[in-house]
């Protein structure tokens, strides 16, 4: 009995080893060695190169801005969805998640067409004799793309966590003298922290590492750390440098996750 149960875990162990641990080990190997196979920290220290450091800084900045915009947009939406009838709110969530069913590249390229100097938006603005927007190939365009692509990942966890907060708890807060604003800050917000955390994680990490959005909407001029790493693997074929920079990026992701987790623990019960 025990033996067969252990056997069931087999496929997952093989998966973990073959597709997670071994590739990770290879990244570590390539990242910490040079082309002759000797140990070196050069690939890691390469981040101190001003251009690469800038691309990392830019990626952190854009990912952070996108995450904040997603959170600011998704939270009120999730609050509204909580108020309306369940069958209607499910439909609205469905519509918000619908773009995820389409190809990621296609969606991002659509933004290229929309934001282009002679694109749809500028044609419409021109028709009304309004000044044209010049945002394609700028950081703003990249933020547009990030928010558009990652918003559903913020909406879903927030919606789920808010729907789980019982109406009776909210009524109890009113009953005990809290205003609607006090009820929000002392009861609803603290109880939704788990949803906020997973939303932030699911937006911030892919936004930090993306290179497709910045390629398509940045016109290849705005390099994020993801683009720099991609180029090391594709154009210059320097796997050692690419892996080294990936490790650096991983450290930054771990640091940001640790910061969030720390806030989460402090946030618990710290309503007042």
């Amino acid at each position: 009995m025990k033996w067969t149960r252990k056997l069931l875990a087999g496929p997952y162990l093989i998966w973990m080893a073959g597709f997670i641990l071994i590739p990770l080990g290879l990244i570590f190997y390539y990242g910490l060695t040079d082309s002759s196979g000797a140990f070196t920290l050069e690939n890691i220290m390469a981040i101190t190169d001003p251009q690469r450091a800038n691309s990392l800084w830019r990626a952190l900045k854009l990912a952070l801005i996108s995450t904040v915009i997603c959170l600011a947009a998704a939270y009120p939406l999730a609050m509204i969805l909580k108020r309306i009838a369940k069958n209607r709110s499910s439909l609205i969530v469905f519509i918000f998640v619908l773009p995820m069913w389409m190809n990621f590249l296609l969606r991002t390229m659509a933004w290229q067409v929309l934001l282009d100097r002679n694109g749809v938006i500028n044609n419409v603005l021109g028709f009304f004799h309004l000044p044209r927007l010049n945002i394609i190939n700028t950081q703003t365009a990249i933020i547009f793309g990030m928010v558009y692509n990652f918003l559903p990942f913020m909406v879903l966890p927030l919606y789920n966590v808010l729907m789980k907060i019982g109406n009776d708890v909210v009524e109890a807060a009113y009953d005990l003298g809290a205003t609607k604003v006090q009820t929000f800050f002392h009861v609803i917000l603290p109880l939704s922290v788990p949803g906020i955390i997973s939303g932030i994680t699911m937006v911030f990490v892919p936004a930090l590492t993306t290179f497709v959005i910045s390629n398509l909407l940045g016109g290849g001029m705005i390099l994020l750390i993801g683009n720099v790493i991609e180029q090391e693997f594709t154009f210059t074929s320097n796997w050692h440098l690419g892996s080294g920079l990936s490790l650096v990026l991983m450290v930054f992701i771990l640091i940001s996750m640790a910061l969030i987790a720390k806030y989460d623990k402090e946030g618990e019960g710290g309503a007042f």
Binding site: A172, A173, Y174, D175, Q182, L191, A271, F272
Partner: protein, 359 residues
């Protein structure tokens, strides 16, 4: 005569076109334990939520000490609620839950600390300040919910089936606890339940409700001994509900036999409903009672035997400490004082309204 604290005047409320409360009038006096009792869907919880401020009536007024509070939101009302499913804040420990209302009001730390320990003593959960509420049992959570409400010193405590989720033994213990609490705090309790035993045990006044109408209001003794209509008689306790014919004052014909009773003023030859409580049916030797029958069922219930006696085609429910085996021929006798006569409802609508409304 104590002062009237809460006055519900002509309250009407419907949800999605369904009438839940129809022209309800109810007065609650200071320091009274009032129970709203009725089957699910009778409007008792809606009434409580209207007093709490969670539901706005379509028509009518809620008067509190002479002031109209109908449009006042829950956080401005001098009442607190103990919710059916406790509704404790899961992200706070016991002390933080109890302190919630006081912190909102900006009370001092010392005041809050004293209040918490006072409230925990009151509900017999001394030393539970820093427990997580999710680690407590249902009964303990309910006590915390009560403590959280009473530290705010409400004039009225609203309790919405607070014992519904507890097991029988705990429920009985909590009934005594609530009576003790009410006496120690000296505040008004408005209690909602569908459990007639809870209502009889705890209340000063019971309000029996059905289909949005008050069927009868009175002391537990009144409600039990003098039900005003068949619904109340049937809902409160077990009863034998029979069709009868009022022959004249103090004489009623049931199942073709004439029983002496004490009721007057029902006219002559009027069809009436007759209620006889099972413990009021005396079993005697055949021929010595008003009608004869045969014991058809016998169950030992601990305190008494529960028997069914078939007499003239009717199954009489009888509670007695004496045991009559199945098949025994018995006579049935009822003390005139124990026969309760009620007017028959004219139609279904009136059945819901009950006779009490017409008095």
């Amino acid at each position: 005569m104590k002062d009237v604290l809460i006055d519900l005047r002509n309250i009407t409320k419907s949800f999605d076109g369904t009438m839940v409360l129809d022209d309800l009038n109810l007065s609650v006096k200071e320091n009274e334990f009032v129970t709203l009792l009725g089957p699910s869907g009778c409007g008792k919880t809606t009434t409580l939520r209207i007093i709490g401020g969670f539901v706005t009536p379509d028509q009518g007024q809620v008067i509190f000490e002479g002031k109209d509070i109908t449009s006042l939101p829950p956080n401005k009302r001098p009442v607190n609620t103990v919710f059916q499913k406790y509704a404790l804040f899961p992200h706070m420990d016991v002390a933080e839950n109890i302190a919630f209302g006081l912190r909102i009001k900006g009370k001092s730390k010392q005041y809050i600390r004293d209040k918490i320990s006072y409230a925990l003593k009151l509900v017999n959960l001394d030393g539970y300040e820093h427990r997580q509420v999710t680690s407590l049992s249902g009964g303990q959570q309910q006590r915390i919910a009560i403590a959280r409400a009473i530290v705010n010193e409400p004039r009225v405590l609203l309790l919405d089936e607070p014992l519904g989720a507890l097991d029988l033994k705990l429920r009985q213990d909590m009934q005594y606890e609530l009576i003790r609490l009410k006496n120690e705090l000296g505040i008004t309790f408005i209690y909602v339940t569908h459990d007639q035993e809870e209502a009889l045990t705890m209340s000063d006044t019971i309000v029996v409700m059905n289909q949005g109408y008050i069927q009868q209001m009175g002391t537990p003794e009144d409600i039990y001994n003098e039900p005003e209509n068949a619904f109340v008689a049937d809902f409160i306790g077990d009863s034998n509900l029979l069709d009868g014919m009022m022959i004249e004052d103090k004489l009623v014909e049931v199942l073709g036999a004439r029983f002496a009773c004490v009721d007057t003023g029902f006219g002559t030859m009027q069809p009436v409903d007759v209620v006889i409580r099972p413990e009021d049916v005396e079993l005697v030797s055949p021929g010595e009672g008003t009608i004869d029958g045969v014991v058809s069922h016998l169950i030992f219930k601990g305190v008494h035997y529960e028997m069914e006696v078939t007499a003239r085609g009717f199954e009489w429910l009888v509670h007695s400490t004496a045991c009559f085996p199945v098949g025994t021929e018995v006579g049935i006798r009822v003390d005139p004082f124990n026969i309760q006569i009620m007017n028959k409802p004219v139609d279904d609508d009136e059945k819901a309204v009950g006779n009490g409304e017409m008095d």
